[in-house]
């Protein structure tokens, strides 16, 4: 799911890099607030967990695998700003230390894997929360929908970048179907894993879940 060097041309990659930089600067500005120890610990934990989980590929179709992306999970656990930071650190370390994702594609990968799945999917999460009952199950159902969509949205971001600056003679229309198709499947896995992990955290420490604490829901969630 990481874009390697050479798939997308220079101008598009640079534009993505600029957008990524601006977005992360915004996240840094928004990461102040009370109780820094808790946020430092939770963000570090979320980032470490996402990194480790992304190494566990599961088969999705003949000869293809997927893995957890974790953007929505991060956003629900520590909020959209810290969540995006955590995801960006994962992408950065993966690129620099593990050669997963091209260095020239770093901006693209931060957009696709740290920003889009965290923010766009968090928006889906909030909308879904409004439509669903304000219970623990409602939170989990919203998370499932949003997590599944996060993977598809991330792949759509890639397709957009490829349409703008793809270097291969293969057109975006040719690969759009397979790309979207496989990521819908991966999205199912994402939804399942997200619900399992979020459910565990909600059961143990619901107060640590951003997506449940900044809404009135927390009282209901803890009561059920």
């Amino acid at each position: 799911m990481h874009v390697p060097d050479g798939f997308v041309d220079g101008p598009t990659s640079v534009a993505a890099g600029v957008a990524a930089g601006a977005a992360l600067a915004l996240c840094l500005r928004r990461s102040g607030g009370e109780d820094p120890e808790s946020r430092v610990a939770m963000t570090g934990l979320v980032a470490a967990f996402v990194f480790a989980a992304q190494m566990l590929n599961f088969p999705v179709a003949g000869g293809t695998s997927g893995h957890l992306l974790g953007g929505l999970l991060a956003a629900v656990l520590v909020g959209p700003w810290l969540g995006a930071l955590a995801m960006a650190v994962v992408v950065l370390v993966q690129c620099l230390l593990f050669a997963d994702g091209g260095i020239t594609a770093l901006g693209l990968n931060i957009v696709n894997l740290a920003l889009v799945p965290t923010w766009a999917a968090y928006g889906v999460f909030l909308l879904a929360r409004r439509a669903l009952p304000r219970t623990r199950r409602g939170v989990l159902a919203a998370a499932a929908v949003a997590a599944g969509s996060s993977v598809v949205l991330a792949s759509m971001a890639f397709l957009l970048e490829y349409a703008l600056g793809g270097t291969s003679p293969v057109g975006v229309r040719t690969i759009a179907g397979p790309v979207l198709g496989v990521h819908v499947l991966i999205g199912v896995g994402e939804a399942v894993i997200t619900v399992l992990v979020l459910g565990a955290v909600l059961a143990a420490r619901p107060d640590l879940v951003y997506g449940a604490t900044n809404r009135i829901v927390l009282r209901e969630v803890v009561r059920t």
Partner: protein, 125 residues
């Protein structure tokens, strides 16, 4: 009021990360992921990386023909580095924000003292 430090969650997640990272070398599917698979099917080729690869490249798979290290160990190293950097970044941002707040608070406190004593006659707290 301060929230208590998430110690239980810390231990639980730490254990989970350990299990995941160590299990990654044994259980993970080795099939290419979605994007890699589509790229291979349609002949999209990636370019050479302009930077040298670290010894951890490909999650310990071994860059440029070297033998590499156990994938689980690579995962643990990565998880520790990622967690440390992410926590450090947030801590740094929080510290900076608090520092800026303190500085502007002391500046405005000083300004009102210089403007004159309060009617009560006591110092401005």
């Amino acid at each position: 009021m301060r929230r208590p430090a998430p110690s239980v969650l810390f231990v639980a997640t730490g254990a989970l990360v350990l299990v995941l990272a160590l299990g990654a070398s044994r259980c993970a599917s080795s099939a290419p992921d979605g994007l890699a698979r589509v790229a291979a099917d349609h002949g999209l080729e990636s370019a050479e990386s302009p930077i040298p690869e670290s010894p951890l490249a490909d999650y310990g798979g071994g860059a440029d023909g070297s033998e590499g290290i156990d994938r689980g160990v690579a995962g643990l190293i990565g998880a520790a580095v990622v967690g440390g950097i992410a926590g450090g970044v947030v801590g740094g941002a929080a510290y900076t924000a608090a520092h800026i707040r303190r500085r502007s608070a002391s500046r405005s406190g000083g300004r009102s003292e210089a403007a004159g004593a309060t009617p009560g006659g006591g110092p401005v707290r």
